[in-house]
Symmetry: C2
Subunit: 314 residues, 2 copies
């Protein structure tokens, strides 16, 4: 609590260190109404790095027609070159053409975005699950041949707005196929935020039984029903050490009736600091960054920790 | 997920049933700016009971000067008489005079409000911890002699805004004294919301070692830093089966920079339903009640589950 931090009291059975995969600049800004200027994005990512984050998903090389918020990937990415030594800067690529654009600019890490359900694959990618995996196959192969690290996002791992609860076996099957394509890492997404801790454990257990190593998994929880942090705790207790989060909870509008946002990085760091788990993140600097970004977006942060700490600091 | 509920997937080492101690009508409304008319409070409590809650803290017999929001305890409590068969309706009493007023009206359960720290005892009760315990002693004795159940709130169990982190041994010592006075049940309050799961476990372990039975304990977490639900999960994993929560997150203003609100009952029920833990609560009816109450207060609920479900229902 001193200096705006909780008292560290470790708990048994938890990892000593967690790697935060910061998604605010990509997943967060992609889901904000406001389109942020390129120089603000570049400053945002530099500030995130200055706060100690070492994995910062930077942008998406998707067609501007689909994601106008990130249409400036080509001009943004080179502005991050000075960070490349100490910080991983993965970028999302939807297909072979996106990969080519990213690699021309020197990207060393990419991510592809798959779905555990047919209806979301259709809605998001306009393809079946099989067709989307077929689309990813040459992308992953070409990336790996060039020594580029590949993350596979797997969305709708717990529930789907059309299909309801998603069976563990179905998620495990798609996860196995992404692994077989060559993905180095998978991020398990609770895209609509319905998961609870027992479901998280059941999926992680199922993946382990299917031979997917726990240290190749990240978890990506949404706070739609306020469950993101308790699900994260359950994942940490299972041995997961990579957690996706979004600075300031970017991507979830605090005034929308349905706040569908990502877990806020600050809320996550508060818990991890309290558990004595190392993250390398300076919570005060991170909070200041999110307050600054909220100002750029013209609205307060939905992160409870940001609101509490920024109030205290005034 | 069907019908606005998560898929139940039990997890090992958790209780089969949790008793929710609903504090919205007392702790929640006490901390709202708007003073709610008596008949609205009565309807609120009846709706909470209709949603399946069986422990509903009803009001406080404190001097109206200190808590004007609850100045109508004498006229409200008799309006709840029809609930008394199936629902426990504890009331807060600050002292002997409050106890006499409550017992005259037939209250069968009371609560006293203590502090683990000297500075909060001074700020809230204008007494030292010793003096406050001395004030509670005859209250608890008289209540128990009349067969009235006594809950002891213990606030500032993890951190204190003036003193910082609160040592476990200090909390255990005050808890022991409340037990020795005769409190049937203790509610461990994280009044400023700074706790994290390891700290929760450490306190529960310390209390167990000091001979305080886990089944006499409730937990009362605040969501100031977004930690309430993960702390609840840690407490459930330790064997706690009584959890305090506030319908719709009452008591925390969604527009305040520092949302100091209680854990929202709906967010709690979502997690418990997902874990297959029985609560007896109908989440749809509870959410409808909180939406109605938010209308009475003229602002949206800060509960993420309420916002998500009420959006879906429209």
């Amino acid at each position: 609590m001193t200096d705006g931090l909780p008292m560290p009291v470790p708990a048994e059975g938890l990892p000593a260190r967690v790697r935060i995969h910061e998604v605010g600049a990509r997943d967060g800004l992609q889901n904000e109404k406001t389109v942020v200027p390129t120089e603000v994005k570049a400053e945002f990512i530099h500030r995130l790095a200055g706060a100690g984050l070492t994995t910062i998903e930077a942008t998406s090389f998707v067609h501007p027609k689909w994601v106008p918020q990130l249409a400036d990937a080509e001009s943004l990415f080179p502005q991050l070159a000075d960070l490349a030594d100490g910080v991983d800067l993965p970028v999302l690529v939807p297909n072979d053409r996106g990969l080519a654009r990213a690699m021309e600019l020197g990207a060393r890490r990419i991510a592809v975005f798959g779905s555990a359900t047919e209806t979301f694959a259709k809605a998001n990618l306009n393809r079946t699950v099989d067709e989307s995996l077929a689309m990813f196959e040459p992308v992953v192969a070409r990336a790996r041949a060039a020594g580029v690290h590949v993350r596979g996002y797997l969305s709708m791992c717990f529930g789907d707005p059309w299909e309801g609860a998603v069976p563990v076996a179905q998620v495990v099957a798609v996860a196995r196929r992404l692994r077989d394509l060559g993905c180095d890492e998978l991020s398990l997404g609770d895209t609509i935020g319905v998961a609870t801790p027992g479901h998280v454990r059941a999926l992680l257990t199922g993946l382990g039984e299917a031979g997917v190593p726990t240290d190749s998994l990240g978890v990506h929880f949404h706070d739609t029903y306020g469950q993101a942090l308790s699900n994260t705790l359950a994942a940490l207790q299972h041995g997961v050490t990579t957690v996706d989060a979004s600075a300031g909870g970017l991507g979830g509008c605090p005034y929308a009736k349905s706040a569908t946002g990502n877990l806020a990085t600050e809320d996550l760091v508060w818990m991890l600091e309290g558990l004595g788990i190392e993250t390398g993140v300076d919570l005060g600097r991170l909070t200041a960054t999110s307050v600054w970004m909220a100002g750029q977006l013209g609205r307060p942060s939905p992160s409870r920790t940001v609101r509490a700490l920024s109030h205290q600091e005034q």
